[in-house]
C-alpha cells in the first residue's frame, strides 16, 4: 500500500455534487498533476459528510482541515498554498469566531454527533471494499459466522435494544426472532430503501457513502433468520446509490463475503436490487412487498405480518437501511457498546436530516434521547438572521410540530408520540417566526393527499377533506367550527386508516392546532395570517378550477 503525505477527502454526496463538487475535483486533480504531487496527495471521493449546507466540501488529513463552499478556481490556491507550502487557506475554511478556524473535529456540527450508522460516510471511499474492511468492515459477519449460532445473533440484537429506524420503531431483535421462528422452507430478507419522504436522505447517504455496511448487515440478518436470499428495494431516483450498491455487491461476491458458502461457512446469501417506482406508499412494508411481487404497490392487511407471511407468502424480514447499518457495529463491538448509547427504551443513535431555518443544515447522527434544543442550537448553530424559533416539524410529511415550550423534551419514540409527533424517517424542519402554521400544515397535508394510494376511505377521502378545509382557512374563508371539524376528522383518519400513511397524515394538522390554535383562530375569525404568509383571499387563476359536485340537480336516468 502506498503511503501518501496528504489525504484529500472530497464529499461526493448528492448535494455537494449538485453544488459543483465534480468541477472542483477535476480542477484539483489538474493542479496536483501540474505540480507533480500525484505521489504525495491522494484524492478520495467519499459519501455524504453531512454538512450539506457547506458543500461542496473537502477535508484534508492528517490534521482534518475543513474547506467549504469550494469552487474550481479555489483549487490552485489550495494546492499551491496548503499542499505545497503547508499554509491553510483561511478564507475557504469554516470560521467559528473572528480568526478562529477549527478543524473538522472541533466544528460543533461534527463534534457533537455520535456516528455509528454514518461512521464511514465521508471517511472511506465507498467504491473500495478494502477501505471498508480496513475500518473493521465484515468483522461482524465473520464473528457471527465463526463464533455464533443464529440464535446467538438474534439474542445479541435483542440485547442491544435496537429499534427499527424506518419509522415505527419496532424492536429489531423481536422482529428477527419472529422471522427466525416462523416456519417456512424459504425465507427472505428485504431492505427497505424506498426513502419516500422528500426531505430525508440518510438511507441514500448510507447507500452512496458506505454500501458495504448494508450488505454486511443484511448478510448477518440472513444468517440469523435463516434466509438465503435478500432484496434491496431502492427508489429509482437514486441512480448513484444503486450503482454503488451494485458495485459493492460485486466486490463482496468476489471477496467471498456474499454468495455461496460465505467465508467458508455453510451459510449462503444472495443479494439483489429491486428498483421501485417511487410512490411514497411503496415504502410501507406490505406495499413494498406487493411491488416486488410485481403487483400494484398497495398496503395489504396485517396480520399476517411479513415475519410469517411476507414476500411471495414466505416469512420475510424487512428492515430499513439505517437499521441494517447498525448491525455490523453491534456484532463487532458487542451489544453492550451499543446499549451504552441513548436512553432506556431507545438505544443507539438516529440520523436526522436537519433543514429549514437553522444555521447549519445537513445530516446529523445523534444519540437518541437528545433534546431538540441541543440539536437546533448546539449542533445546528441556532436560528439564522436573529429570528425567533417558532416550531420544528419532526418525522417528515406526516410528522408533528414541536413548539418552543417543548424544546427540552428528549427525542425518543414515546415522548414524540405524546407530543403528537413521530420519529418517522428522521426529517427535521426548523421554522422561525416567519412561518405560518396553517400554511405549513397545508403544505405537508398536500403531500400525503397526493401520495395516498386510495385504497381505504378514511385516507383517500378524509385527508382530501382536511386539505379543502385548510385551503379554505388560508384563503380567508374559514368558518366557525372548522377547527373542531379538522380535529374530529383527523382523529377518525388516524383511528381507521389501513396503513401508517393515513394513520399519521393528520399529524401536522392536529399537532399544529394543538400548539398554535390561536393562529388558526386568527385566520378564521379575524381573517388575518399573523405570519403574513397566507394570501387570505382566493387567488383566481386562468386555469379552470376542477369541477366539483354536480352542475345541476340531476334528473338523468340510466339509459
Amino acid at each position: 500500500m502506498k503511503i501518501y503525505r496528504i489525504h484529500a477527502l472530497i464529499c461526493a454526496g448528492g448535494q455537494c455534487i449538485s453544488a459543483g463538487g465534480n468541477d472542483f475535483e477535476a480542477a484539483l486533480r489538474t493542479e496536483i498533476q501540474k505540480h507533480g504531487l500525484e505521489e504525495e496527495v491522494q484524492i478520495v471521493e467519499t459519501g455524504c459528510m453531512g454538512a450539506c449546507e457547506m458543500g461542496p466540501m473537502m477535508v484534508v488529513y492528517p490534521e482534518g482541515t475543513l474547506y467549504i463552499h469550494l469552487q474550481p478556481e479555489n483549487a490552485k490556491e489550495i494546492v499551491e498554498e496548503h499542499f505545497l507550502k503547508g499554509r491553510k487557506v483561511h478564507q475557504l475554511m469554516w470560521e467559528k469566531a473572528e480568526g478562529h478556524f477549527p478543524t473538522l473535529n472541533e466544528v460543533p456540527f461534527f463534534a457533537l454527533q455520535t456516528k455509528i450508522v454514518l461512521r464511514n460516510c465521508g471517511v472511506i471511499n465507498p467504491e473500495n471494499i478494502e477501505e471498508y474492511i480496513a475500518y473493521d468492515g465484515y468483522t461482524g459477519l465473520a464473528k457471527a459466522l465463526g463464533e455464533m449460532t443464529p440464535e446467538d445473533v438474534v439474542a445479541e440484537i435483542e440485547k442491544s435494544g435496537l429499534r427499527g429506524r424506518g419509522g415505527a420503531g419496532f424492536p429489531t431483535g423481536l422482529k428477527w426472532k419472529l422471522t427466525a421462528q416462523a416456519k417456512g422452507d424459504q425465507k427472505y430478507v428485504v431492505c427497505n430503501a424506498d426513502e419516500g419522504d422528500p426531505g430525508a436522505y440518510m438511507d441514500r447517504s448510507v447507500l452512496e457513502g458506505d454500501p458495504h455496511t448494508l450488505i454486511e448487515g443484511m448478510a448477518i440478518a440472513g444468517y440469523a433468520v435463516g434466509a438465503n436470499q435478500g432484496y434491496v428495494y431502492c427508489r429509482a431516483e437514486y441512480p448513484l446509490a444503486i450503482q454503488r450498491l451494485q458495485k459493492a455487491i460485486q466486490q463482496a461476491k468476489s471477496a467471498g463475503l456474499l454468495g455461496n458458502q460465505i467465508l467458508g461457512s455453510r451459510f449462503s446469501f444472495q443479494l439483489q436490487i429491486r428498483i421501485g417506482a417511487g410512490a411514497f406508499v411503496c415504502g410501507e412494508e406490505t406495499a413494498l412487498l406487493s411491488s416486488i411481487e410485481g403487483k400494484r404497490g398497495e398496503p395489504r392487511k396485517k396480520p399476517p405480518y411479513p415475519a410469517t407471511c411476507g414476500l411471495f407468502g414466505k416469512p420475510t424480514l424487512i428492515n430499513n437501511v439505517e437499521t441494517f447499518a447498525n448491525i455490523p457495529v453491534i456484532l463487532s463491538k458487542g451489544s453492550s457498546f451499543f446499549n451504552a448509547i441513548g436512553k432506556e427504551g431507545c438505544r443507539g443513535t438516529k440520523v436526522f436530516s436537519l433543514a429549514g431555518h437553522v444555521k447549519t443544515t445537513g445530516l446529523i447522527e445523534v444519540p437518541l434521547g437528545i433534546t431538540m434544543k441541543e440539536i437546533i442550537y448546539d449542533i445546528g448553530g441556532g436560528i439564522p438572521g436573529g429570528k425567533v424559533f417558532k416550531g420544528a416539524l419532526i418525522g417528515g410529511p406526516s410528522g408533528g410540530v414541536i413548539p418552543s415550550s417543548q424544546l427540552d423534551v428528549p427525542i425518543d419514540y414515546e415522548h414524540l408520540n405524546t407530543l403528537g409527533a413521530i420519529m418517522g424517517s428522521g426529517g427535521l424542519i426548523v421554522m422561525d417566526e416567519s412561518s405560518c402554521m396553517v400554511d405549513i400544515a397545508k403544505f405537508f397535508l398536500q403531500f400525503t393527499v397526493g401520495e395516498s394510494c386510495g385504497k381505504c376511505t378514511p385516507c383517500r377521502e378524509g385527508t382530501r377533506q382536511m386539505y379543502e378545509i385548510l385551503d379554505r382557512i388560508s384563503c380567508g374563508e374559514g368558518r366557525e367550527g372548522d377547527i373542531e371539524k379538522l380535529e374530529s376528522l383527523g382523529k377518525v383518519i388516524q383511528d381507521t386508516s389501513l396503513c401508517g400513511l393515513g394513520q399519521s397524515a393528520p399529524n401536522p394538522v392536529l399537532s399544529s392546532i394543538r400548539w398554535f390554535r390561536d393562529e388558526y383562530e386568527a385566520h378564521i375569525k379575524k381573517k388575518v395570517c399573523p405570519a403574513g404568509v397566507c394570501t387570505m383571499t382566493k387567488i383566481t387563476t386562468n386555469k379552470e378550477e376542477p369541477r366539483r359536485g354536480r352542475k345541476k340537480a340531476s334528473t338523468r336516468t340510466i339509459t
Binding site: K301, C456, T457, G462, R550, R556, I558, T559
Partner: protein, 608 residues
C-alpha cells in the same frame, strides 16, 4: 393452531370461539351485527371501506372486524361512541362524493349505502364534494352501464371479476382521490374483453353498475299496433321474479309470471323452455355424433362443451380461442327461440316476419349482448331471398333481451299486483316444455337434461332414475361417470364435467387446451350456480339463494309429467312439420351458429 378455540370478550360478555375466525364472524356468531360495505366473504377481504371498525383493547387504532383474526384474550367493543363516530364519519366522507339521486337510481331499493346510512342515522354530510360528480356514463357495453360518479371504490366488482370470474377486466387505476375502477387502458367496458356476465352488477352495493335498461324499447314495441310482439321467459326467471315483489327466495311463480307478462300486452306469451328442449335434441344429437366417431376411431372434437351461456362464449372466444371447435355449434335457447319465432311461428301464424318482435326475459345480462351478435340474424337470411328483403328490412332473431329485474320494473310500472295474480299458462305452440327444460336454469341442468335424452338414444332404454342427482349441486366443478350399454352391446362410460362460474370454467378449459381433459361432455355456465344466479336476477342477500332457487326448479321438474325433451309433443311436431330431424340442413341454418376467435385486445387492433 388455527382451529384451537379462544376465549374472547365482546362488549363485556365472554365467548369461546374458533380461533381462526375474524372478529366479524365471531360477532355474527354471537348475534352482534357489524355493518360492512366492501366485504364479501372469501372474495373481497381488503378492508378498504373501514365501516366495520371496532375497538380492540390494547390496539391504539380501531381494527377492521372483517380482516382481523380473533386471539385468546381479545377484548372487543362494537358499540362505543368512538366506534360509532368513526363509522359515521367514514360514511359521511363517502356520501360527500356520492351523487345522492336516490329518487331515480336503479339501485335505490337494494342500495347498501342508503341502507347503512339510514341505519347509522346519517341525515346530512358535513362535507362537500371534492370530485367532479358529473362524469359521463360508460354506455359502451351492450349489457352493462357504469356510472363512476356513484362508485364508492369498495372494489367488490373488481374482486368478483378477478377471483370468481377470472376475467380481470376491471381494475383500480390511479392513486388517492383520483383512483377509480377502470377498464383495460381506460377504455369503455364494451371495448374490452368483458364477458357481460353481470356478476359485477350483483355485487355492487350502490348503483354504479346496472344492466343497460331496455324497458323503454319494449314499451315502444308494445305500443306499436303493427307489431306482433311475443315474449319468451327463460327457465330461471320463474324462480326469482317473485323476489322483486317481496316473495320469499325460491318462490316458484311460473303461472303468475305468465299471467303478468300477458297483462303487459304481449301478443304471444311463450316459454324459452320450449327452445331448451330443442337445444337438447340438437346438442344431444351432436354429442352422440361426435362420441360415435371417436368410438369408431375417427377424429372429432371431444369434449363437447355446451354453448347456452353467452358470457361463457365470449370468455372462451377471448381466452381460449383455440378450443372453439370443442364448443357445440348449437345456439343458446334464447336464440333458437328467436329464430323459430320468426320462421316457423311466423309462417304458422301467417305473419310477415318483419312485423314479429321477439322479446326475451332472461336472468342474464350477457343475453343483451348475444342477441346483437351479427351471427344471430339467421331468420332474416332465411327470408331474405324468399321475401326479397332489403338491407334496411334487417331484423335480429331476438329484438330485445331484458333481465328479470327489468321485467319486475315493467310490472311495477303498470301496477300489477303480482302476488295476487292468477296462475295462467303459456300460449301455444311455443309454450309447451318438459321438466328437462326447466332445470336448464340450474348448474348441471343442461347436462342432466341432455343425458336423459342421450342415454335413451344410445341404450334404447330409459334412465334407471330420471333424476340424475350425481350431476346436481352447487360445487363449482363436478364430474361424473355415466355408464351406458349401447343397443349393440358396447359398453360406454360417458365422462362428464360441469362447471359454473368462469373461474371454474377456466380450470376445465386449461385441461382442454393442453389436451389433458378426460371428459366427453362438459357443461359450462358463466354464472356461479348457473342461470338462477345470473347477472340479471333479483339481487338477494340470502346466502342460500342458489340452493333455494335450484330447489324450486327441481320441484317444478318433478311436477311436470313429461320430463324428457324428446317427449315434448310440440318438439315432435316441429321436427315433423319443419326441421325434419335434429341436425338437419334447416336446423343447421337456423339453430346452429359459429364463433369468433378474439384476442384480449381486439379493439386495440381494430383501432390501428
Amino acid at each position: 393452531m388455527e382451529n384451537k378455540t379462544v376465549n374472547i370478550k365482546i362488549n363485556g360478555n365472554d365467548y369461546t370461539v374458533d380461533g381462526s375466525l375474524t372478529i366479524l364472524k365471531a360477532c355474527r356468531q354471537a348475534g352482534i351485527s357489524i355493518p360492512t360495505l366492501c366485504y364479501m366473504e372469501n372474495i373481497c377481504e381488503e378492508g378498504s371501506c373501514g365501516i366495520c371498525v371496532v375497538e380492540v383493547a390494547k390496539s391504539h387504532t380501531l381494527q377492521r372486524a372483517c380482516i382481523t383474526q380473533v386471539y385468546d384474550g381479545m377484548e372487543i367493543q362494537t358499540n362505543t361512541s368512538r366506534v360509532r363516530q368513526a363509522r359515521k364519519t367514514i360514511l359521511e366522507l363517502i356520501l360527500a362524493n356520492h351523487p345522492q339521486d336516490c329518487l331515480n337510481c336503479a339501485a335505490s331499493e337494494i342500495c347498501e349505502l342508503r341502507k347503512i346510512s339510514y341505519d347509522l342515522g346519517i341525515d346530512e354530510t358535513p362535507f362537500e364534494p371534492t370530485k367532479d360528480l358529473d362524469l359521463p356514463l360508460d354506455t359502451t357495453s351492450p349489457a352493462i352501464v357504469r356510472d363512476l360518479n356513484k362508485c364508492i371504490l369498495c372494489r367488490r366488482c373488481v374482486k368478483e371479476c378477478e377471483i370468481v370470474q377470472s376475467v380481470n377486466v376491471i381494475e383500480i387505476a390511479g392513486r388517492g382521490i383520483n383512483s377509480k375502477v377502470s377498464c383495460f387502458m381506460d377504455k369503455g367496458l364494451g371495448e374490452s374483453y368483458c364477458t357481460n356476465c353481470g356478476q359485477c352488477i350483483k355485487v355492487c352495493p350502490v348503483g354504479a353498475l346496472t344492466e343497460k335498461n331496455d324497458v323503454d324499447r319494449v314499451w315502444d314495441y308494445l305500443a306499436d299496433p303493427k307489431k306482433h310482439v311475443v315474449v319468451q321467459t327463460a327457465p330461471a326467471v320463474r324462480v326469482a321474479l317473485g323476489e322483486e315483489f317481496g316473495m320469499p327466495v325460491g318462490s316458484l311463480v311460473t303461472g303468475k309470471m305468465a299471467a303478468g307478462v300477458r297483462r303487459l300486452g304481449f301478443d304471444g306469451v311463450f316459454d324459452t323452455d320450449f327452445a331448451a328442449d330443442l337445444t337438447i335434441l340438437e346438442e344431444g344429437t351432436e354429442f352422440i355424433g361426435r362420441l360415435t366417431k371417436v368410438l369408431n376411431g375417427e377424429s372429432a372434437h371431444l369434449p363437447l362443451i355446451t354453448s347456452c351461456s353467452p358470457g361463457w362464449i365470449k370468455f372462451i372466444e377471448h381466452f381460449f380461442p383455440k378450443c372453439l371447435p370443442n364448443v357445440s355449434s348449437c345456439k343458446s335457447p334464447q336464440q333458437m327461440f328467436g329464430a323459430v319465432t320468426k320462421t316457423y311461428y311466423a309462417q304458422q301464424k301467417n305473419l310477415d316476419p318483419r312485423d314479429v318482435i321477439c322479446v326475451s326475459v332472461m336472468p342474464c345480462t350477457a343475453k343483451k349482448y348475444e342477441c346483437l351478435r351479427p351471427e344471430m340474424d339467421d331468420a332474416f337470411d332465411h327470408w331474405k331471398d324468399k321475401l326479397m328483403l332489403k338491407d334496411e328490412d334487417h331484423f335480429q332473431d331476438v329484438d330485445v333481451a331484458i333481465t328479470t329485474r327489468e321485467l319486475g320494473r315493467m310490472m311495477k310500472e303498470v301496477g300489477i299486483d303480482f302476488e295476487h295474480l292468477p296462475e295462467e299458462s303459456f300460449d301455444s305452440p311455443l309454450g309447451e316444455s318438459t321438466g328437462a327444460a326447466v332445470i336448464f336454469g340450474a348448474t348441471g341442468g343442461v347436462m342432466e337434461a341432455a343425458l336423459r335424452t342421450v342415454y335413451e338414444v344410445v341404450t334404447g332404454q330409459a334412465l334407471p332414475k330420471v333424476e340424475l342427482e350425481i350431476v346436481r349441486g352447487m360445487k363449482g366443478i363436478r364430474t361424473a361417470d355415466i355408464p351406458m350399454v349401447s343397443a349393440d352391446g358396447k359398453e360406454i362410460i360417458a365422462k362428464v364435467a360441469i362447471a359454473s362460474g368462469l373461474g371454474n370454467a377456466r380450470v376445465l378449459l386449461e385441461e382442454v387446451s393442453n389436451g389433458t381433459s378426460p371428459y366427453h361432455f362438459i357443461e359450462i355456465m358463466a354464472c356461479p350456480g348457473g342461470c338462477l344466479n345470473g347477472g340479471g336476477q333479483p339481487i338477494s342477500n340470502d346466502p342460500n339463494v342458489c340452493e333455494k332457487r335450484a330447489a324450486a326448479l327441481y320441484s317444478q321438474d318433478e311436477a311436470i309429467t313429461i320430463r324428457k325433451s324428446h317427449d315434448n309433443p310440440e318438439i315432435k311436431k316441429i321436427y315433423e312439420n319443419y326441421f325434419e330431424k335434429p341436425n338437419s340442413h334447416l336446423a343447421h341454418e337456423l339453430l346452429h351458429t359459429s364463433y369468433v376467435e378474439r384476442d384480449l385486445y381486439e379493439l386495440e387492433k381494430e383501432d390501428n
